[in-house]
Symmetry: C3
Subunit: 212 residues, 3 copies
């Protein structure tokens, strides 16, 4: 790894931006979990506004990374990996925002345990991504990235099960079709967020393979 570190150009553009993106990921996941677990309707709205704000912030970071990818000649990793990682993070924020927005627009008041569990899993995956992305800078503890990737894959599997069971239960118990549509869409957005965490983790694995 010693030689590798010498060869990697001291990037001052992409690492800070990716770290900013991963920070948004952590804060939006925390806001989501808080929004789903608060008992106060007012606080929930405040937190959904916050989720919106962070998603908007994330959009700016995404645009900036994409702009820098076009404008910069040398990138610390394969251009397409940075592109894919950024898109995946952008998609995670989008789906988190999508679930929160639906809770507001559809006036969903009955937050189910499955929704809270999925939000918890998203938060765990976001924390893992945060750690792994900070390791990209010097690639000293590649095990951190490797382990994060394994954990995120298992989190996504877990989320799949939670989602499948929740949807099966929903179709068994919910007789009001419009209610069913609302809850199903919230669950779907939460589950998609964990899918996109796995996509991000796969890009990190791929970067690792290329640099070892």
């Amino acid at each position: 790894m010693g030689i590798l570190q010498l060869l990697i150009p001291k990037d001052r553009i992409f690492f800070p931006l990716l770290e900013k993106a991963s920070f948004n990921l952590v804060t939006i996941s925390k806001a989501l979990y808080d929004a789903l677990t608060t008992t106060s309707a007012e606080e929930r709205i405040v937190l959904i506004r916050e989720i919106e704000r962070i998603e908007h912030e994330g959009d700016k970071v995404t645009h900036e990374i994409m702009h820098q990818l076009s404008a910069t000649f040398i990138t610390p990793f394969d251009r397409e990996d940075i592109h894919e990682l950024t898109s995946a993070i952008d998609d995670i924020l989008d789906h988190i925002h999508g679930s929160a927005k639906r809770i507001e627009i559809y006036k969903v008041t009955n937050i189910s345990p499955a929704m809270i569990k999925l939000a918890e899993l998203i938060q765990q995956a976001a924390d893992e991504l945060y750690k792994a992305i900070h390791e990209l800078r010097d690639l000293k503890n590649t095990n951190t990235i490797r382990e994060a990737s394994i954990r995120i894959n298992s989190i996504e599997n877990h989320a799949d099960d939670v989602f499948d069971n929740a949807v099966a239960k929903l179709f068994e118990e919910e007789k009001d079709a419009i209610e069913l549509i609302k809850i199903k869409e919230v669950l779907q957005n939460l589950e998609k967020a964990t899918d996109k965490c796995e996509d991000a983790a796969n890009v990190l694995s791929s970067i690792l393979v290329k640099h070892s």
Copy 2:
């Protein structure tokens, strides 16, 4: 820019194809707007047939561009940018066709103001894309591309708001779940079309950055 223009090879393949694609975009958007605003059921069906025809035409252009990307050694822009731009335009046509098809298949007769507003926004974005794509040829007035991109981003934001409000209203007022599903899907396809216009605009911005 003078030197740049000398360096860009005189492309006789991709510019005409991309311009054809952008022309399809303009005519399909116009047909969509007309289909949503006509008061004649027969005329609507004629226009939906026309939308289908243009979408089919667009598929051929997409295939031709993709074929040329594989067969041509030198491209006027990054291969992946042409690929992404073409895919985005293809997706816009698909979603426009998707909304029109659903209006027909689901026998939606009650065209809401939100649908018409979204069709209007799609038409505006298509016009902007048309202008911007024609600027690619010599990149003389790069401001045209820059301004088109900014306007399309703001059109997409506007479309998001129109969509969110329409869906919130739908869930408040529509008590027939099957009706709700039909209208929601038409709205979703229209909104997705504006998303894809934004994707196309982002590729154009990225091409601009690389050539300035």
Copy 3:
């Protein structure tokens, strides 16, 4: 073609993996068709478990190909074509699994003729992809790939019609919104599977163009 065959490095990594992926495609499509046509509820469950197993198997092959793409310096075709082809196959398996899973979770017992027809079309497309992918190895009978690609495109068009008619009929006849949602989702997953077969066929065409 003689010189071409000399130039292509004897790949011992990607061909076996892609052939394995195409084999999974054939077995999962057969299991799907059998699951939809069996009259025994127990056998259907056994076949859905089998579909799940193959999908899981396919995930491993996908990961292995993606890993090899990062770890291998020389690839027999453009890196991005292998990536796209693998993703398309992975998506086909996902949508087949998605349709089977929904039949189980939603307790869909009334398998419609349209579902069976779509499963039949998926099986035909999978067989074509299997043959075409085995031709990649020496590219001797490029017509096999060309003809497979044409047939898959026509299969996808056919599937589109079957799907559109089935959905139109569903909205006309099914008055229970929750039933409608269930059946529509199963149909959508089946139709998406044929879309992804077309995506895979398009990548094969593109590889062909580059090597002729």
